[in-house]
């Protein structure tokens, strides 16, 4: 039994719904917060209490620390769950929550801060024995120094601007002879972009996979790992599809990566649920960063490891030890998640907004829907475009992919474009099905959605359009037909009513 009594959820959308569900199952009361347009959002209608925290812009509502703390005080909440995004990895908010005498359902503020500073985190990890991508110590003075460092590290390497990111001042070097011009190019580009010519060097991974380890740590000194997730299908560093287990991780590698992840968490005094992210290539893995929060893709782990990660967060925050014990046979089966976003994959993932006119949610064996939308809900442009997560669980990876394809075919979101067609295409794509993945998958499969519609589909769409036009001209009829013996509108209507409307 958790020590928490009433949790304020400082978030919205599917993750707020997820946290409310976990609280309900543990008998904990919930307080939702909402912005003006979210008055009727699913999380507001599910919670025991709800407090308006401001207008649509997140900076004046979901990110307004003062209003959130006031809402917690007014409703008598004893704890705050931040979800992901918004203030979830804001160490100073976590500190303010604790200063207000509330329980922060997450890691200690100093652990958030330690992992939030990427350079500091890298150093700490190195000294904790966590492998980081090998690189030069500090900036390089000339091409010769760079060449020496590269000989030590191994090719290919990447020159990077010390002062910046975003691709500026970056050069891949594949052989010693390329250094002269690459070094000059990287320096001058860095100078122009950041006013700082210094460059350093790192091993370059051509086609790494993104593999991450879930950890749980309680206040009783127990830190465990809950296996890996593979999240290589990304676009501009945004994950789109995740799965567990990874098709390339066996029990031995899992144990090795798990031990490293536990060491990483312990090195910063971690508590709660967290994720240690790695890049993986050629049987080597390197620390990328640690996410000090519950992650979007946590449910794939839940499905194959028989764990409820959000409930564990609540228990740990309430002072209880981790309840979960690794089942005898785990991971059990295979789980896949597709992030259903309000983005149009046929238009470069352009954000789409609008009212959800209708929604058909997939169901049936092995399907889980973690959603933040409902029919009638207006999807605006103020918040993250994630609408819902569609998950499947099946005995094998192949069956899970087939199940996901089936579930995606059942999904209908009417009123705005979603990323679902992208997911459908991936589920049928041979490299994905064979587990040949890397974080460059999406750019290497840019033609995924280029396949033109087949003749049968065009025929059906044209027939439907003609019947709709007929229907519109004749006034609204629930059924329009031609050649089925009820082509006449009135006859069609009475046939419909006979079948479906006893009144």
């Amino acid at each position: 039994m958790s020590g928490l009594r009433r949790v304020l959820i400082a978030n919205r959308g599917e993750i707020a719904v997820r946290v409310i569900r976990a609280c309900r199952e543990l008998g904990i009361e919930t307080v939702a917060v909402y912005s003006d347009p979210d008055r009727l959002a699913p999380h507001v209608r599910l919670a025991d209490r709800a407090v308006l925290v401001g207008p649509a812009p997140a900076s004046e509502s979901y990110l307004d620390v003062g209003r959130l703390l006031e809402a917690a005080r007014r409703t008598g909440a004893d704890s705050v769950h931040p979800g992901y995004g918004f203030l979830a990895e804001n160490a100073s908010f976590a500190g303010l929550v604790e200063d207000a005498g509330l329980v922060w359902i997450g890691p200690p503020p100093n652990a958030i801060a330690a992992m939030g500073d990427k350079t500091e985190a890298r150093e700490r990890m190195r000294s904790a024995g966590v492998p980081v991508i090998p690189g030069s110590e500090g900036a390089l003075d000339d091409p010769d120094a760079a060449r020496e460092a590269a000989d030590r590290i191994g090719y290919p390497v990447m020159l990077k601007a010390a002062a910046g990111g975003g691709g500026k001042g970056m050069r891949v070097v594949r052989a010693a002879g390329e250094f002269e011009s690459a070094f000059r190019g990287a320096r001058s580009e860095a100078g122009q972009a950041f006013g700082d010519e210094r460059v350093y060097l790192e091993r370059f991974l051509d086609a790494p996979r993104h593999i991450e380890i879930q950890v749980l740590a309680d206040a009783h000194g127990r830190t465990v790992h809950v296996g890996e997730r593979e999240c290589s299908i990304q676009r501009r560093h945004q994950k789109l599809i995740e799965e567990a287990p990874s098709p390339v991780v066996d029990a031995e590698l899992r144990e090795r990566m798990g031990r490293v992840a536990v060491a990483a968490a312990e090195a910063v005094g971690y508590r709660s649920a967290g994720t240690v992210e790695f890049l993986f290539q050629d049987d080597e893995f390197f620390f990328l960063e640690m996410n000090t929060r519950i992650q979007v893709e946590h449910p794939v782990t839940e499905l194959v490891w028989e764990v409820d990660l959000v409930q564990e967060q609540l228990r740990i925050a309430g002072g209880d030890p981790i309840l979960w014990q690794a089942p005898d046979e785990a991971p059990r089966g295979h789980a896949v998640e597709c992030r259903i976003g309000g983005e149009d994959p046929f238009a470069g993932f352009l954000p789409s907004a609008g009212r959800v006119v209708d929604l058909e949610v997939p169901s049936g064996p092995g399907v889980r829907w973690d959603g933040g939308i409902e029919p009638g809900f207006e999807v605006g442009l103020h918040y993250d475009p994630l609408l819902a997560k569609l998950l499947v669980h099946a005995p094998t990876r192949e069956e899970a992919i087939d199940r996901m394809a089936r579930a995606l075919d059942e999904l209908e979101v009417v009123g705005l474009a979603t990323s679902a067609p992208f997911h459908r295409a991936v589920m049928r794509e041979p490299d994905f099905r064979a587990g040949r993945l890397s974080i460059r998958y999406v750019e290497e499969h840019a033609d995924l959605l280029r396949e033109p519609p087949n003749a049968d589909t065009l025929r059906a769409v044209a027939a439907a359009a003609a019947l709709l036009e007929e229907e519109r001209r004749q006034g609204a009829h629930p059924r329009t037909a031609a050649g089925t013996g009820s082509a006449d509108g009135a006859a069609a209507r009475s046939a419909w009513q006979r079948t479906f409307d006893p009144l």
Binding site: A463, L468, A482
Partner: protein, 169 residues
């Protein structure tokens, strides 16, 4: 009644008669479209072939989706089609084109000037929505006839941003 249906770049002719739908190929199939009351969910029977569809009425046609694909569909009857043919404007790819805002948002930059020639795929306007910048491009070559927005303006979904004259028009 005979209809001319445009689905993306495809054009289909279809005639609804007492025997069903007759396609350009001459084949006739009984058809029936039923609606789940109060929703956009439809079910089409094309002969005995079942199609789950959703249909939303738009200003100039329909948005239909089925089996994971969305289609913008324009449709006209024979008479309208004939009048338009006679008026010398062939097809819908000619004549003035309008670039409309695909979503509500902020106009960050206007990349063209009135009178400028553009190629298909050239950027016209950059809009910001959900904190992401999105470049809106010309879907056909032509000349910019009018700029209807200013940088910094907030625009509604569907609002006309730029009008283009097709090449040679």
């Amino acid at each position: 009644m005979k209809y001319f249906v445009t689905i993306g770049e495809e054009r289909l002719e279809i005639e609804l008669g007492s025997g069903g739908a007759t396609f350009g190929t001459g084949e006739t199939v009984p058809v029936e479209l039923a609606a789940v009351p109060g929703t956009a969910l439809r079910h089409l029977l094309l002969g005995d072939e079942g199609w789950r569809l959703t249909a939303v009425r738009e200003e100039d046609g329909w948005t239909l989706s089925t089996r994971g694909r969305r289609f913008r569909v324009r449709i006209e009857d024979e008479r309208t089609h004939a009048i338009r043919e006679l008026s010398g404007v062939e097809g819908s790819d000619e004549g003035p084109k309008e670039l409309r805002a695909p979503m509500p948002g902020l106009v960050v930059r206007v990349l063209v000037e009135a009178g400028q020639e553009v190629e298909r795929g050239d950027g016209l306007v950059v809009m910001e929505a959900m904190k992401m910048e999105n470049e809106l491009r010309a879907d056909a070559a032509g000349r910019v006839s009018e700029i209807r927005v200013q940088e910094g303006a907030t625009v509604a979904q569907g609002q006309v941003l730029v009008t283009l004259e097709a090449e040679g028009a």
